[in-house]
Amino acid sequence: MKINDFRQISKYEWEIAKNFQSGMNVPVIIFADERILHESMKDASLQQAINASHLPGVVKNVCVMPDVHQGYGFPIGGVAATALNNGVISPGAIGYDINCGVRLMASQVKYTQAEPFIEDLINRINSLCPSGVGKGGRMKLTKKEIEKVCTDGAHWTLRNGFATNTDIAFIEDRGCIEGADSSMISLRAIQRGMPQLGSLGSGNHFIEIDIVDTIKNKKAAAILGLCEGCLTLQIHTGSRGLGHQVCSDYVKDFQHVVKKYHFNLPDRELVCAPLDSQEGRNYLSAMRCAANFAFANRQLLAFYARKAFEEILSRIPESSNLYTVYDLAHNIGKIENHKINGKEQKVCVHRKGATRAYGPGHKDLPNKYKEIGQPVLIPGSMGTYSWVMLGTQQAEQKSFSSCSHGAGRVMSRSQARKRYRGEKVRERLLRDGIYIKAGSMAGLSEEAPQVYKDVDHVIRCIVGANLASKVARMKPIAVIKG
């Protein structure tokens, strides 16, 4: 693609017109400045966004976030909404790691007091929160219990003593999406989930201790419980093998479904089913099971991280309580109300590597956050800052209330392995004051800070496009990489 293929709407918004390629049902809007736009032309991400615009019943436009990069079928950092009456749901446009997401927890513990204990703290979290390739969780559940996790989500953890009511209040959808039906997921999905609840996984999943480094919005930070110089914790993981299997099963099944409904798509990974068909409803129920499993998974990890804080930081006088600020999904399909051409309409918003970003006053926000809007959590790489932002009312109009989910990769894993050695990455980060616990040195090299975009640049684009506003910046001090 060339720069002339885009119509510039503003400094941070670009459009690929609906007539750019035959088969497009809507335009594609890219939220980026010219530099990020040029970077995103280097891989297949924008073509994947164009392909997504072929989905039947897609409305308004496909959105591309500034952390966009090439995925499979649908770009990572992509958002597409489809009409409930004549639109489709596409498992590949949500991704295999259903409800991969981020939990942010905060404390009133000052780093200056906790500094001597940080290494002990990250070691203790590492011992309580299993991570890495092939590592299961601390509990082995029966098929029946996994089915309950799938229908009840984080509420299962509440009943079993792994959560507080306050945790539940600050999880997207209160940690349980209604309409999950465990009879819609395969035995194989359950088998894969049975040993894995309460485990981090590998790849880009992490648990990270940060310090609140800078506050940009004092009022909002106070409401969120973020205080400058205090410790916070982020957990990034999803639905593990259970979610991967749900997506695999339905991508396979929908290969037949697209033939039945005569859908003509540019990529078999985008296969889909009508939202008002039995096939579509079945996937929606199955996807919700995986999403609920992921909410429970992050809550279990949060429970053990909190335990580690209490054990290790009991030596300092301040309260070591670690409380949930927010927990959100960034690979999911949600039925939401949005204004399309001035008219309120129910749509299925596919967010793949994109975060929901409701503005102030939205009815689905926790009461405490209604005034300020939804927290939007944007982790950087393990060597750079992460940001806490707030959704805006403009995002409701521009991006189906969606925002970026991270910094976004710029370098392939194979290139990263050639260019960086895991041991060197760890040494370098330690010199910068960041402890690293990693399951594999090869995995660490693939996640070196340099393989990601500059998160501050991504944030500038988000703010410039009015998708979210800044609250606080966090600096990493210890990271567990799966």
């Binding site: 891989d43 991400s45 990069h69 090439q70 995925g71 499979y72 079928g73 990572i76 590949g92 991704g95 295999y96 790691d97 390739v133 092939g134 194989r188 088998q191 894969r192 996984g201 590998s202 790849g203 093998g241 991967h244 997506c247 695999s248 991508v251 396979k252 290969q255 037949h256 990529d267 078999r268 990974e269 296969v271 990769r409 710029v410 370098m411 392939s412 894993r413 194979s414 290139q415 594999s440 090869a442 995995g443």
Partner: protein, 139 residues
């Protein structure tokens, strides 16, 4: 695009977020076998010497691409759930049916998890007497 040779007939292709390989074979049977080797080599699996014996796999799908995804997904399941490494893989494809035999070895550990085998732009073609395709794996 720079490709990294993993095996004869298997090349790793740069992919921003995930992993991709180009796979070739003189026959479909050989291409499927090479695809399995390619996928397993990405995972960097460390195995034990003890031979657990032979296993058989029979799969039927509507088309050849679906058969490839189903075959590789089965191998992933065996690795993740049974923690067994399929070695000396033999593949025989007749129409829409695949029969495979392999020897299993216990897995000590592996370095990279593959979440899924995708259909991303999957298209098996026959060019110059060789079958070939590109495969993208979700990492």
């Amino acid at each position: 695009m720079r490709k990294n040779q993993l095996f004869p007939e298997v090349f790793e292709v740069p992919h921003t977020a995930d992993a991709a390989i180009d796979v070739f074979g003189r026959s479909l049977d050989e291409m499927f076998k090479n695809a399995a080797f390619g996928m397993l080599s990405i995972m960097e699996i460390n195995i034990q010497e003890e031979n657990l014996g032979y296993e058989n796999l029979v799969l039927i799908e509507d088309d050849i691409e679906s058969l490839l995804v189903a075959f590789l997904s089965e191998i992933l399941f065996i690795v993740e759930q049974k923690r067994e490494y399929p070695s000396n893989i033999q593949v025989k494809i007749s129409g829409s049916q695949l029969k495979s035999t392999f020897q299993s070895f216990p897995i000590n550990s592996y370095d990279k998890e593959i979440k899924a085998v995708t259909f991303n732009q999957l298209n098996i073609v026959h060019v110059n007497d060789r079958f070939q395709t590109r495969l993208v794996f979700d990492i």
